[in-house]
Symmetry: C2
Subunit: 195 residues, 2 copies
């Protein structure tokens, strides 16, 4: 019995993965707002009815997609080792998964007009923010909670601002940027008595 259920669950997950992959393609192509459930179904080679069995709405689908993107960002963050490495990634605009970034742009644009998507974005960002604060607590125990929250906010601005600017040509020297960002991040987390 258990084996049967396991097999069924595995099939369910595989099908979910296929639908999410097809939805990502559709959202990239037409935008979240313009992509219809019929289009998604066709891209996943399924009927609309089958899609609804896995995701009751387009919002539910985007929620699962965003959850997965945040999961992968949390995992990437836990591998982040030092300030110089992070500074280098920002300076070279090599911050996040590029396709994920473009999809999050789509989500952000949609969030500005759809309250349900705004809520999904909020929940995802809060989870990421708290994870980052928790990592900071381990790496920089000398900072207060309020200081850690401010550091996480500044780092998020740097990472997301850089991701957003990926759509434009980099006009500054990556080496100079690396030096500037390294110093910035160093100053951000240095012991508070020096501040």
């Amino acid at each position: 019995m258990n084996k049967q259920r396991e097999a069924r669950d595995a099939r369910h997950r595989t099908r979910q993965d296929e639908i999410i992959a097809a939805a990502r393609r559709c959202f990239r192509q037409s935008g979240f707002h313009a992509a219809s459930m019929a289009q998604l179904a066709s891209a996943a080679s399924l009927s609309v009815g089958q899609i609804y069995r896995y995701f009751p709405s387009k919002d539910a689908l985007i929620e699962e997609m965003v959850t997965r993107i945040v999961d992968s960002r949390v995992a990437a963050m836990s591998e982040q080792t030092d300030a110089s490495h992070l500074a280098d990634m920002i300076a070279r605009r090599d911050t996040l998964n590029e396709e994920d970034e473009m999809l999050m742009l789509e989500v952000a644009a949609e969030a500005s007009r759809n309250p349900r998507v705004a809520e999904i974005l909020q929940t995802a960002e809060t989870r990421l923010f708290h994870n980052a604060c928790e990592k900071m607590r381990v790496d920089y125990p000398h900072l207060s909670d309020a200081q850690r929250a401010a550091c996480v906010e500044v780092l998020a601005v740097l990472v997301e601002g850089t991701a957003f600017r990926r759509l434009t040509t980099q006009k500054a020297s990556a080496d100079l940027l690396h030096t500037l960002y390294k110093q910035m991040i160093h100053d951000l987390v240095k012991p508070s008595e020096d501040k």
Copy 2:
């Protein structure tokens, strides 16, 4: 004759303004990709034919919209006085015109799939970047061109990252952020012998 032409030009500009205002509403509501010329025409109380007389394509319309947004950003930049003021604006997330920001999110999402819109975004960003470098040259003559370009890039990341994060709740203290950003911006533009 000249008076007739002036009156005609004024009418033309008024009509253009009305179309841009209607297009902004449509793009905010449906997204750039999903908004059709028929929808734009209806929002502007014009026929599709009349819209085409002013803008030969949706891309031409978005180009004019982006040009106007950049014009207003260049104007705002020239009024920027000191680092503390800029730090305060970033800390309070009071950076740019909120509706403009949301429209630029739309443009960015569209740029990731439409090469013509990507080009419009590039051109606009280059104009803004060079304007900022020129302002830096006047305000901070001790910096080299390369240093100025790096400063402008960092400031752009801070401003645009902050604008992007406006869609999420601010979890850090604005006062702490203000202190951090003020120090960052100060260090960014300090005389190079101290660097």
